[in-house]
């Protein structure tokens, strides 16, 4: 039993050291917690937009506000510990990036205002009662894609396209939802669709290969797995001379042909402006969930050239080579 006693003493010592740390936690400026499920280009951009929006409006990190950024590295169980941390620190506001982050945070507190970003559907995630009047302590910005406009964009590049191939991750809620909308839009425009789904990044190459000869163009909605696997898609698409349209700019420059869509930096920026209102005392429950209005066009010139596809004249200014910023 000696070891057991020693071990209990060790745990007590850990506990005590935690307590000592917390004594110094007095603060004079607002604390904003940032909870993010995983690193990826779009989510990081949204976070940067949020931070910049605050800085532009007099809330510079370390000077007039404390930003505490925590990333769960893809482990949902760590999200829970991060949320506990923010509740214990009595954060004045928490930015939750992506749905699981917001769900975990909302489960831990009814009182700390939570702003979400990179979340598609607040109502089905039970984070809000409605988009116009959230009702709880969560509001924010949605990254719901302008799918209809994106499919129309395919037609602008390829007026003859008859069949659109859909590629997405079957296990990602947001992707499944978008695929559903895309199917309706495609049929509504008198075209046909075919689809192949993946479970993780290991499936991407084969899935992309298998859809190539069944369609005239490929459409990939905003999707975490594909967001990191676009170079693979690009290679297969160039080999097969098939254009790929994505739901998002980062994915397009990573290996798609063109898109119009949510700019995650701007979305985060918009969320930062909402944060200013919350810090000024506005009630989160009454702040409608905002969506992006001015979409960005992104045209991948490298891809267009490789396939010999002409860029519509008004979109030429948006054309960029891959690897160019």
């Amino acid at each position: 039993m000696n070891t057991l006693r020693k071990s209990i003493a060790l745990i007590l010592a850990l506990t005590l050291s935690l307590t000592v740390f917390s004594v110094f936690a007095e603060r004079d400026k607002p604390l904003i917690g940032i909870i993010q499920i995983v690193d990826h280009v779009a989510l990081d951009a949204a976070r940067q937009g949020f931070v910049d929006a605050l800085a532009e409006n007099g809330y510079k990190d370390g000077e007039s506000v404390t930003l505490d950024y925590r990333n769960a590295q893809g482990s949902p169980d760590v999200l829970s510990s991060i949320a506990d941390h923010f509740v214990a620190e009595k954060a004045d506001l928490v930015l939750a990036i992506a749905t699981p982050s917001a769900q975990t945070m909302a489960g831990k507190t009814d009182s700390i205002p939570i702003l979400g970003t990179a979340i598609t559907d607040y109502v089905s995630a039970r984070l809000a009662q409605s988009d116009d009047k959230p009702g709880y302590n969560v509001t924010g910005t949605t990254d719901m894609n302008p799918i209809k406009e994106q499919i129309e964009l395919i037609r602008r590049f390829l007026p003859e396209a008859k069949t659109i191939g859909l590629l997405y991750t079957a296990s990602e809620d947001n992707s499944v939802l978008q695929a559903q909308i895309a199917r309706d839009v495609i049929e509504g425009m008198g075209m046909a669709y075919t689809e192949v789904t993946v479970h993780n990044s290991n499936d991407v190459q084969q899935a992309t290969q298998s859809i190539m000869d069944k369609c005239d163009a490929i459409y990939i909605p905003t999707d975490n797995v594909f967001a990191s696997a676009m170079p693979v898609v690009y290679e297969v698409a160039i080999q097969n001379q098939k254009p790929v349209f994505c739901g998002e700019a980062g994915m397009t420059m990573g290996g798609g042909l063109a898109t119009l869509g949510v700019n995650y930096y701007n979305l985060g920026h918009q969320t930062g402006l909402m944060a200013l209102k919350v810090l000024a005392g506005e009630a989160v429950a009454d702040m409608p969930i905002e969506r992006q209005t001015d979409f960005d066009y992104t045209v991948n010139k490298t891809f267009c050239d490789a396939l010999g596809i002409a860029i519509p004249e008004d979109l030429v200014p948006y054309a960029k080579e891959m690897g160019e910023n």
Binding site: I11, Q73, S75, D77, S81, T104
Partner: protein, 297 residues
């Protein structure tokens, strides 16, 4: 401050049931059972679906146990009846469960925010969510340990223990080792299912990806438990799994609290486990008894 420790305690208790499950396969049966990564999501998925359909969360918990038993049964049958190596059997079931979990949930994420859970009755008594999880998680762990302690003392329980240690001896006693292996895997996965169910209800959602890395968490907790709290009699061994799981969570909370970038968390977890594993060696060094140790993980 308290919130962080209580949070770590509650999380540790919920994951402890799974840790005991991992212990049963890994240490008692001497099988590395990868099914766990699928089963923890399965338990969460079944419970979330049941609750979202408006049925009792207790029914959800019960069905999570049944689902876990079935998952263990599949892995056991693959291994014993079809002769597929144990590691591969577990991986096959894990992969299959990915599709099954998607079928069960019908979508990748079911939110349980503001829905009734097994914690609701305790919260209705005035406990806050964290305490409700601690009380129920603690009761659950205590019940599981007591039942297992009793079970592994019975004739069939002892046979399962002997299977991992010396299958030839077990067969010589006229006991079918296939049966004991299957039974052990079923019990283990049922426990993992319970954990998945309780975790989903505590974190307010079930997510298709939530099982990722579960086996590492289970092994890390198990090893921390064994190294720090010893492996004396059978009852204390189960208890040390619970303490190991809680310690693991306190370490993570401490790391977050001290401001280490959470980006480095996985590296830190690996270092912690390596440290825990090498403690016996370090002890030997200190005692001047430098001789090679048998076994290890």
């Amino acid at each position: 401050m308290e919130q962080i420790l209580l949070g770590a305690l509650s999380l540790g208790l919920l994951w402890s049931v799974m840790t005991i499950g991992v212990y049963i396969t890994f240490r008692i049966l001497s099988i590395a059972d990868m099914t766990v990564e699928g089963t923890i999501t399965l338990g969460a998925a079944v419970t979330a679906r049941v609750i979202s359909l408006g049925a009792s969360p207790w029914l959800g918990l019960l069905l999570a146990i049944v689902a876990g038993l079935l998952a263990g049964l599949i892995t056991g049958l693959l291994h014993t009846k079809l002769g597929i190596p144990a590691l591969l059997s577990g991986i096959l079931t894990m992969i299959a469960l990915f599709s099954i979990n998607l079928r069960v949930m019908t979508k990748a994420n079911i939110s349980l925010l503001r829905m009734p859970t097994v914690y609701s009755p305790l919260m209705a008594l005035g406990l806050d969510k964290t305490w409700a999880v601690i009380v129920l998680g603690g009761l659950c762990a205590a019940l599981v340990i007591s039942l297992l302690y009793w079970f592994f003392g019975t004739e069939i329980g002892s046979a399962i223990r002997a299977t991992g240690a010396n299958p030839n001896m077990v067969r010589a006693q006229g006991i079918h080792t296939d049966t004991t292996i299957i039974l052990g895997l079923m019990i283990s996965n049922a426990l993992v299912g319970i954990s998945g169910s309780l975790i989903a209800q505590s974190q307010n959602y079930a997510d298709l990806q939530m099982g990722t890395g579960a086996i590492v968490i289970g092994l890390a907790s198990m090893i921390i438990g064994e190294v720090l709290f010893g492996k004396r009699n059978f009852f204390l061994r189960f208890l040390s799994m619970v303490l190991g799981s809680i310690t693991y969570r306190i370490i993570i909370a401490l790391v977050l609290k001290m401001g280490m970038p959470s980006d480095d968390l996985k590296l830190f977890t690996a270092i912690t486990v390596v440290f825990a594993l090498s403690l016996p060696k370090i002890k030997d060094l200190i005692n001047g008894r430098l001789r090679p140790r048998k076994g290890g993980v």
